[in-house]
Symmetry: C2
Subunit: 351 residues, 2 copies
Amino acid sequence: ATTFRASEHQHIRYNPLQDEWVLVSAHRMKRPWQGQVEPPLATTVPRHDPHNPLCPGATRANGEVNPDYEGTFLFDNDFPALQPDAPSPGPSDHPLFQAEAARGVCKVMCFHPWSDVTLPLMSVPEIRAVVDAWASVTEELGAQYPWVQIFENKGAMMGCSNPHPHCQVWASSFLPDVAQREERCQRAYQSQHGEPLLVEYGRQELLRKERLVLTSEHWLVLVPFWAVWPFQTLLLPRRHVRRLPELTPAERDDLSSIMKKLLTKYDNLFETSFPYSMGWHGAPTGSEAGANWDHWQLHAHYYPPLLRSATVRKFMVGYEMLAQAQRDLTPEQAAERLRALPEVHYRLGQK
Amino acid sequence: ATTFRASEHQHIRYNPLQDEWVLVSAHRMKRPWQGQVEPPLATTVPRHDPHNPLCPGATRANGEVNPDYEGTFLFDNDFPALQPDAPSPGPSDHPLFQAEAARGVCKVMCFHPWSDVTLPLMSVPEIRAVVDAWASVTEELGAQYPWVQIFENKGAMMGCSNPHPHCQVWASSFLPDVAQREERCQRAYQSQHGEPLLVEYGRQELLRKERLVLTSEHWLVLVPFWAVWPFQTLLLPRRHVRRLPELTPAERDDLSSIMKKLLTKYDNLFETSFPYSMGWHGAPTGSEAGANWDHWQLHAHYYPPLLRSATVRKFMVGYEMLAQAQRDLTPEQAAERLRALPEVHYRLGQK
Ligand SMILES: O=P(O)(O)O[C@H]1O[C@H](CO)[C@@H](O)[C@H](O)[C@H]1O
Ligand SMILES: O=P(O)(O)O[C@H]1O[C@H](CO)[C@@H](O)[C@H](O)[C@H]1O
């Protein structure tokens, strides 16, 4: 019998955080590509465009004028998917037709006054200001809402409609689907094994090493064993931390620096401004914030779509939508490639 | 208090087939779009290209020469994600690191010898040949494998790497994730309510009418109450049918005709060859095929990404990947728009 080698033999892997499986078929990297090639990214974004509603001093869709902000800037999304008040759909008349009320707020957070920078091109203190703003908005909206979803869509490929460096914050009166899954999985793990799932997972990955991308005093970045996207990563604190606001100043500085390194590696991989969606998950907030959420470990997910080059991406389509996620290179191969990349940004190194 | 109106007031809806929620925020259709515009679709596909590995008479990557086929043509995928033999990863040493063996086959099925047609441009008898080929391949591969996933990725936007009309068939030794969810939900519904979930669902939609797109003697097409993609549809037989091979000749003819109508409406919506991923779900097969699967109802899902025009799509990104699916127009609005569209293809009507 042939010996199993993950890089050669298809297999399925389990995601214990979200209770899902992924099909890993590394041998498929050999397949030729004749499909859609993404349009090349707009490389010349002007530093300031008075017509861009995210720029300092610009007028937004609702007529408000942005301040001349110099660091981060948080404001209400002019086209929010969630609003603070909406009537309730009322009771369902049939188990197959269930609807419920949804309330919330959607905010936009600019990272920097300039449109032509991205997080990896910002300084560590500038990134630190973003980390602090994430912690504050979690605290502020978390006072009222049980879930505060911070997420960044970077790049047109990820549906981002504005090149200015920014993220979004959607707070909701309900625990969204993915949060519910992570809640269920982490709670069950804690009750079975007596410690938080992701604390033990981080410890194991530090021992096993093959999926580590970066480590620092307080943080680790790894390609999870169950990663779905080609260069997906998980960012974890070493200490057990439930939510962003709990991070100490030293942990925040260290986070800013490891984020800069990770995002620099990402940009260096295909020498492009690497597209991704990323987001933070921490323990639920709102009126139940005081309950026992010790099974939660704070973490960020990075989901980048590029597979082979700056213009050839992985598509999560037919089989993936109808049956199960499928990946080509193994998580260990992805980690190895990311580890090997320089920590100096290719656009700065060229000087 | 304001009266709830689904088309104006955000709310969440439950998908009882896959145990998931979607956030519906119809008011967000007003939002301007400055993001990625998809490259216009290649409109001039040659009818025959000897270098296209899906064409009759062409030589494929493995050196095999395609026959001069005149109807459908089924062959092994030259770059399969699943192969019939692969060693097993062996037992897991830790609950957070679980991998299992995956075996299977991947096939490609050409619908027609010509590269410049699509299903809605084919005749009903030509589509009927595709339906028969789907039933046969389910039977053939289902003899050995517990799950046979037939799916079509149509259009470059859906990661389809070849414009020749075709679908894929991936059969696996395991029940994929989505199949597991549908199995769990349908089984639970049957045991609670004494009848198959989708049989009751189809009956309810026939009564409620507002989400129906097309009905025929044996089939219905509707935008499900819990649809995630803007113009997502569900295709259901009226009779309780567990798997494709059980369909009678009359049901197959009628299926071919309703598919042609649905796909014509799709193309007419934005006057473009409408991209989508679609796939069939039926009761599990393989060695357990003889068990009681009466809770399963055969169905096909259509997941099309376009939202506003032939070049502006819905992105399932940040919030959707990290938290929960979100849609803009309501399923009822989508059904109404689809219902109103002609059943004659815009490219044929112009004559
Ligand atoms: O097999 P194809 O058409 O080359 O590939 C396409 O469909 C597959 C199955 O959904 C996906 O895994 C690929 O990402 C996609 O590009
Ligand atoms: O709010 P934006 O950036 O205009 O929109 C983007 O992010 C949203 C949240 O992930 C998605 O719902 C949209 O489909 C996407 O285009």
